[in-house]
């Protein structure tokens, strides 16, 4: 039961973060290791900044349509 609860908590945390445009970091690291083992992996801090800039239009900016 505690396992289920912690799974639920993890899901809710992920959902809350994605609501503000922050995808799952662990998933990103896993993806990089699996498919691009030769490329550098961003630290969580760098990942956070990169995603924040992407959401609010760093380069190019969000296009209305």
């Amino acid at each position: 039961m505690f396992n289920d609860l912690s799974r639920l908590g993890k899901y809710l945390g992920q959902a809350a973060r994605l609501m503000v445009g922050m995808p799952d970091y662990d998933n990103y690291v896993e993806h990089m290791q699996k498919t691009h083992p030769d490329k550098p992996v961003m630290s969580y801090e760098a990942f956070f900044r990169e995603r924040q800039d992407a959401r609010y239009g760093g380069k190019g900016g969000p296009k209305c349509c």
């Binding site: 994605l18 609501m19 503000v20 969000p62 296009k63 209305c64 349509c65």
Partner: protein, 689 residues
């Protein structure tokens, strides 16, 4: 196996359908006695469930023929950043948080002037047949095109010219949305030191959060958001003290015009600041607060089961209502945009969501289901507006030019319409919510806040908490409106720089300060001008701006549905085009009719040109017509009427030219034997899956 109980498995759904029909019957037919809000909720939810089970399944399997073996862009282009295959429930949350904004909350409140029935029926029918279909279709189309945006898809499937026209239309819509949202904030905060203090307090709170997330503990969204929410609640409490203090209250009391200038200045500065400082942290706060408030409101309505005080229908279905002018058709369908059908969602459904979809069969749950959820929020807003005394509702939403500006004359005027209210009651409501007055608070947000406060202060523990919940509701609306103004100004700036850059290439450089300042300034000036005009408009501004917003938003939905129709024809699924043609035609009929009425109606209260003509004639004769007081104001009224007429004409031009191209391209594709759509080729899921 399935066939064994083929009919039996429909029995529970039949019962849900009967329950929904029965509840809807109560809502629609019971007259002369107050009905409980739960009837509306049950009717809506039951119909949503049945529509989801049958209609969306029909669209998924027959019209779109969703293929569970087809790899989505999230899988094919997975980079852990923009393209990430995401659990469908988590993605549902993301999509819902992106589509739910001020729209579904404000529209139903304004529509309540005709009674709760017309709006409720349109919300339910509109979402099932139009809104959810649009969101679902665009999500499907974009997913099959590598997550392309709406503008790109129009260009690809219909041609370069309609693509550019759609882009131009989008820019106009953006400006109108920003102006009308800002106007709602101004109406809510004018002469309200409590509201003003709490909203101003969000800026240092957001900056603190931003600095914390950037430098102190980078990227820790959760902990600092909790701190931020606590600080916000604290600022509401301090705001109460400020409003009660004779020294401090005047420092936070501003007129509508002053707040307009502050907002314009804020919009300009905020759009130039780095995103991590104010925009991102406040977006986190507003998103979490929005979801929390929606859940709290749903719980509140369920446990309180309040009775609706607004009648099912009022006499204002004939178009003479004080809140906005216009008859039920077409203006109800313009006033309630989001919640029934919203073109804005086409931008989200072709934005981030298709890049996160793990399997295209989930587009049904996220696209169709997400929009049903938004409609449910709009239903709750309708309930919140209908549980308050109708007399209070009309006193808050009627412009002073019609009802007067002191409680005695307002109470007398509103009572004469049959919504009995005494001056003492109006004063008491103002006192309950901690404000000096409830008069001339048009725009929907304050009315909704009173409704929310009434529900929440009874549903949750604590005494004398009405004022707290009122300002909580105002703050929560102001938060996400300010975020929209901020993010919208940025997006508008890029669009403007893009458009102008075609003529002056230097303006395209988004890293140049001068180019940025010109882009931002131009964008702020455009919405700021419309906002200012709305604020000084003696008739309240919402009167003119909300219909323009509704028309533009529904036109965008019309464009999205025309695109979907064209693509269905190109896919040779002609036999199903009625799925998108039906809502597209309805939207075109409503918006074009509304557009022409707004332009050419002979009554100056409705038609822009008639208004301009009436005031021009008077000005030529040297007369000053109320509500204008000087010759200058006369010129304002005339100029504004022409501006609004021009905007309406532009919208009509955009939608009719897209219709022209849709007919042209659609007809050409109809007679061809083979498929001509630009779908990405089929790719199966990679082996590792």
């Amino acid at each position: 196996m399935k066939n064994n109980n083929g009919l039996l498995r429909h029995v529970p759904w039949l019962m849900v359908a009967i329950l929904g029909a029965w509840a809807l019957g109560v809502v629609a037919l019971r007259r002369g006695e107050a009905i409980n809000a739960l009837w509306i909720v049950v009717a809506a939810v039951a119909i949503y469930l049945v529509a989801y089970r049958y209609y969306s399944l029909f669209i998924a399997t027959k019209v779109m023929q969703l293929d569970p073996t087809r790899a989505t862009p999230a899988v094919l282009k997975n980079d852990g950043l923009d393209y990430v295959p995401t659990n469908k429930h988590i993605l549902f949350g993301h999509h819902f948080a992106a589509i739910a904004g001020a729209g579904p909350l404000v529209g139903p409140v304004l529509a309540a002037q005709m009674g709760y029935l017309p709006g409720t029926l349109w919300l339910i029918a509109g979402v099932v047949l139009a809104g959810a279909v649009q969101d679902f279709m665009i999500l499907f189309l974009s997913t099959r095109r590598n997550g392309r945006s709406l503008g790109d898809m129009v260009r690809e499937e219909m041609g370069r010219i309609p693509g550019t026209i759609a882009l131009f239309g989008c820019f106009l819509i953006m400006i109108i949305i920003l102006a009308v949202l800002a106007l709602i904030v101004v109406k809510a905060l004018a002469e309200s030191p409590w509201g003003m203090f709490t909203v101003m307090a969000t800026i240092p709170i957001a900056m603190f959060m931003g600095i914390y997330m950037r430098f102190i503990r980078p990227g820790r969204i959760g902990e600092i958001s909790v701190v931020g929410v606590v600080l916000l609640l604290l600022s509401i409490w301090v705001g109460g003290l400020v409003a009660a203090s004779p020294e401090w209250a005047p420092m936070f009391t501003f007129t509508g015009v002053q707040i307009t200038w502050m907002l314009v200045g804020y919009g300009f500065v905020a759009a130039m600041l780095p995103v991590w400082l104010v925009l991102a942290p406040r977006d986190y706060l507003s998103t979490f607060l929005k979801i929390g408030t929606i859940i709290a409101l749903a719980i509140g309505i369920l446990i309180l089961a309040p009775e609706l005080k607004m009648p099912a229908l009022t006499q204002f279905t004939d178009g003479t209502g004080p809140v906005w002018k216009g008859t039920l058709f077409p203006f109800l369908f313009i006033t309630i945009a989001c919640g029934a059908v919203s073109g804005f969602h086409a931008l989200i459904s072709s934005g981030t969501t298709p890049k996160l979809l793990d399997n295209e069969v989930n587009a049904r749950y996220i696209g169709y289901g997400g929009m049903l959820m938004e409609s449910f929020v709009a239903i709750m807003a309708m309930v919140a507006a209908s549980v308050i005394e109708p007399g209070v509702y009309f006193a808050m939403n009627s412009p002073a030019a019609i009802v007067g500006s002191d409680v005695a004359s307002v109470a007398q005027m509103v009572s004469s319409w049959g919504f009995l209210i005494t001056p003492d009651q109006l004063t008491a409501v103002a006192k309950d919510i901690g404000e000096n007055t409830v008069l001339a608070r048009a725009g929907g947000a304050p009315t909704l806040a009173v409704g929310i406060a009434q529900i929440l202060h009874q549903a949750f523990p604590g005494q004398n908490t009405m004022a707290f919940w009122y300002h909580f509701a105002i703050l929560f609306e102001a938060l996400f409106i300010l975020t929209a103004v901020d993010a919208g100004t940025r997006a508008g700036r890029f669009m403007l720089q893009d458009l102008l850059g075609s003529f002056v290439p230097a303006l395209k450089r988004t890293e140049s300060w001068t180019a940025n300042a010109i882009g931002t300034g131009g964008c702020v000036a455009l919405w700021g001008y419309l906002l200012y005009q709305g604020v000084i408009d003696p008739l309240g501004g919402i009167n003119t701006l909300w219909p323009l917003f509704g028309i533009s938003n529904q036109m965008l939905a019309g464009i999205a549905l025309m695109l979907a129709t064209v693509v269905l024809i190109k896919m040779k699924r002609q036999q199903y085009v009625w799925v998108t043609i039906l809502p597209a035609s309805w939207l075109l009929i409503c918006t074009v009719t509304a557009g022409f009425i707004k332009l050419f109606d002979p009554s100056p209260a409705v038609g822009f040109l008639a208004l301009a003509k009436k005031y021009s004639a008077a000005a030529d004769a040297g007369q000053v017509l109320a509500p204008a007081k000087t010759m200058d104001q006369m010129q304002h009224v005339i100029f504004n009427a022409y501006t609004n007429a021009t905007l309406t004409t532009l919208f009509l031009f955009v939608v009719l030219s897209i219709l022209f191209y849709a007919l042209k391209v659609g007809r050409a594709a109809w007679v061809k034997k083979e498929r001509t759509d630009k779908e990405s080729p089929f790719q199966a899921f990679p082996e590792t899956h």
